[in-house]
């Protein structure tokens, strides 16, 4: 099924979830690695280029995902889920979206702070909306760093909760976001 149903997420939501998870983890790792490269490293210019293009791509995926989520039903929580688990999970999902949004935004403001756009895979340029003072640009950089760490830590908790449901509670929670749903 392409669309979500009360018994689980559809193909679009599943692909978006795992693709974004993969890209965001890669962006985080590359982001930490590339800022410590020496000037003569072969990857000194190419990694930031990929980081920015993929970051912009993830922002596009996020917008698509939010639209898809609003226009689709959300799978019903399992009867075994306690109310606080349902609330906490929903809150975590919202917070993950907000963090990704803010990370994309702060990254965009770093690179466009002097009024120049960002190259998107050498295909076209995403224009700058505004210019920023050097202090504000550095603030955007600091936020980008700490928000990225927050996202990864929250995602680890999100994953830990899913694995707990899968291996300890042995329920269908994790299978909701896979293609291995029970009929």
């Amino acid at each position: 099924m392409i669309r979500n149903s009360p018994s689980g997420y559809g193909a679009v939501a599943i692909v978006l979830h795992w693709l974004m998870a993969l890209l965001l983890i890669a962006l985080f790792a590359v982001g930490l690695y590339m800022t410590d490269l020496s000037y003569y490293d072969r990857l000194y210019h190419i990694l930031p280029w990929w980081h920015k293009s993929i970051g912009l791509f993830v922002f596009g995926l996020l917008l698509l995902r939010i639209v898809w989520r609003i226009s689709n039903p959300t799978p019903t929580p399992l009867p075994t889920h306690r109310p606080w688990e349902v609330t906490l999970a929903a809150l975590t999902h919202k917070l993950l979206y907000i963090l990704i949004f803010l990370i994309c935004l702060s990254g965009y403001f770093i690179s466009t702070s002097k009024g120049k756009g960002i190259e998107f895979f050498g295909w076209f340029e995403i224009p700058a909306l505004t210019t920023l003072s050097s202090d504000d640009t550095d603030l955007a950089g600091t936020l980008h760093f700490y928000l990225a760490w927050s996202l990864i830590l929250l995602a680890v908790m999100h994953a830990a909760a899913a694995l707990k449901h899968h291996f300890i509670d042995r329920d269908e929670t994790l299978n909701h976001i896979t293609f291995r749903k029970k009929p």
Partner: protein
């Protein structure tokens, strides 16, 4: 009578005061007739050229006694501008200027020596990245005199070269990029 003596005394001291005290000039950053530009070799093939957009300072200058001239400049390090957002952010970081820790760089002259043909040598202490070292600036006096708007101005250009390692900046940009060349274009207006 008392008043007359006082006036006479005051008048007699005037020529001395103007002869023994240099006039103070403010560097004309307001009208942007001053620039602190720099260049660093890029890989030995090209250059990175940048500037500090925010600075200020004063010049004490006496046309009759140019040797007594002095210069003081304060630069806001976070105003470094190489026309590249990501590079400027890197230049502000702890790898280079560390502007959060060292908000200002200063230059205070210690001697000024006139040479021939409008050339001069300005020696002073440059404090950058928390390190103070003497630098020698080769100066060319460009002119001095009245401006069309009722003020008086002096101007000079200067060049100097510093090693980044001397100031504790350890980022390795390669063997050809260890120094920074400064090009200074300074004009100052006499304070009224």
């Amino acid at each position: 009578m008392k008043k007359m003596i006082a006036t006479a005394l005051l008048a007699s001291t005037l020529p001395f005061t103007s002869a023994s005290f240099a006039d103070e000039y403010t560097i004309d950053t307001k009208g942007a007739h001053a620039a602190i530009n720099f260049s660093v070799s890029h890989l030995g093939y090209g250059w990175v050229v940048g500037r500090f957009n925010e600075f200020g300072g004063t010049i004490n200058y006496d046309a009759a006694k140019p040797e007594a001239s002095s210069v003081e400049v304060t630069i806001k390090t976070s105003s470094v501008d190489s026309n590249h957002a990501d590079r400027d952010k890197h230049l502000r970081s702890a790898d280079f200027l560390d502007v959060e820790k060292f908000e200002e760089a200063t230059f205070k002259s210690t001697s000024f020596t006139m040479g021939e043909d409008k050339k001069a040598t300005l020696v002073g202490d440059l404090t950058l990245h928390g390190v103070t070292k003497p630098v020698t600036i080769d100066v060319t006096l460009s002119g001095a005199g009245k401006d069309p708007w009722g003020g008086e101005r002096v101007g000079f250009s200067g060049t100097t070269r510093i090693a980044m390692a001397d100031y504790g900046i350890s980022m390795d940009l390669g063997p050809t990029s260890t120094h920074v060349d400064f090009n200074l274009f300074i004009e100052a207006v006499k304070q009224k």
